[in-house]
Amino acid sequence: MAIAKVCGIETEYGISVVGAPDANPITVSSVLINAYVSEAAGRVGWDFETESPGNDARGFSFETPSNAEMETHLVNTVLTNGARLYVDHAHPEYSSPECISPRQALLYDKAGEEVLRRAMKASRRFMPPGQEIVVYKNNSDRKGNSYGCHENYMMDRAVPFAKIVKQLTPFFVTRQIICGAGKVGSEAPGADDVNFQISQRADFFEEEVGLETTLKRPIINTRDEPHADPTRFRRLHVIIGDANLSEISTFLKLGSTAIVLSMIEDGLLDELNVQLASPVQALRKVSYDPTLKGVLETVDGRLITALEVQWSVFDLAKKYFEHDGIGTVGSVEEVRQLLDLWEDTLSRLEQDPLSLRHRLDWVAKLSLVQGYKDRHSLNWNDPKLAAIDLQYHDIRPEKSLATRAGLETMLDSRDVGVAMFEPPKETRAYFRGKCLEKFGDSIAAANWDSLIFDTGKDPLRRVPMMDPLKGTFRHVDGLIRSSGSLVELLEGLGA
């Protein structure tokens, strides 16, 4: 039986410093996050007056104190919306809270973008004159360095992993035609003749399955770290996505994937008679072909286009919806909207991809780049086209080319503003976020699956949250509201 597709997106943002191109990226990331935390502090009523930005402002350590990240004093903080904001290697990273549906995960992904935008603004007062931190939501520096936008989905532990790998691979190889973010040129060896490709990330994948995320990246990542009861749940850690600016691309990426995973759990993708002969090569082949006409070989010797693979999956999804309603992914209305959009997108890709230039990132970017190239009679290797590619992802509203591309939106900006501070009501993120808001001073450490409270007397009290669907508004809101003190809260929880 399929289980609720609790999901979320973690994004590593690219950064640069205007006026100081050689600035240390770890320091810059730390400044950015501390600037946000110290500014947001006023908003949630915390006292940061005595703390200095540049140090760990209120660093709720996400891991145990022995964690290497803590030892190197990398900034690591939890927001009242339940998200984690921290320095990951040399990038600022925002991990959204656990969300109940693709639509909600889209909202919290956009809220993350806004968090980084505010951080950028707040960081200005910490930078020397003439220097400015700029944040990019993309996945590559065009020089062979890639950084991730990972999705996470809750799955039933009972489903054999081998089945997930087999049934998911053809979908993952081809979904880029909907959720690719586009790239001018290629960073893969021997692909110099690629002018424009659909995906930011296809150049960097070398394996079908594996544990790595930084080299020899696999299409299916095997990291088994459920952050929940390991006997019941799996967290599928998806590393093959691009960071999207388009809300529709993000929504379709999350939505179609959540449906496919539910189908795998319910055994409904067993009917998908598609297994690609060489998934890694196919991934690049699809990416390098914006005409969408190229064919891929299956293990049984058939030739099939990426669109045909997506249609086959979609047909099964539609049938599944008619029988089941797919409540694991949202309400009937939400899932219907998702399927209608998915179908319309595939039809348009088939008929006239350019008609999606206000909806899909790769199409929007391609029309900008192609138009600019034609107008100024440029070669594909002109740095101006590479600059357009990068600047598409600049998240400053006055500079962002994605903003200017006129992308259709699905969200109300007021909801995004609220989601920067308020946690989702339907998952354990609610408990995390609200405890942080009310009892922040007494939280010694926070993690995805626990909160550790300091009541002022030893020992510390750990509250486990092993089920992502417990600790919701319905479960704990009354208790948190009525608890005048931390001790009352812990007594009420029976912890």
């Binding site: 360095n145 009917e271 008609s355 990068l390 200017r404």
Partner: protein
């Protein structure tokens, strides 16, 4: 299996035809597209980083994921 495969394909085909009508009615003419894009390209000229070559060269990201 072959029969079921065939059936699914024809179903897809039928569905494509249904949406095709809708899609073509929404298709904008090439001129409209060009006019649209012209305004946008003017904007790009205004906001694009001044020294594109230097901007692209300086954008280096190390240590991802």
């Amino acid at each position: 299996m072959a029969e079921r495969e065939q059936k699914r394909k024809s179903q897809t085909h039928r569905e494509s035809e249904e949406v095709q009508e809708e899609v073509s009615s929404k298709n904008e003419s090439a001129e409209k597209l060009k006019a649209d894009l012209d305004d946008l390209l003017d904007e790009i000229d205004e906001v694009l980083e001044e020294n594109a070559e230097e901007f692209v060269r300086n954008y280096v990201q190390k240590g991802g994921e």
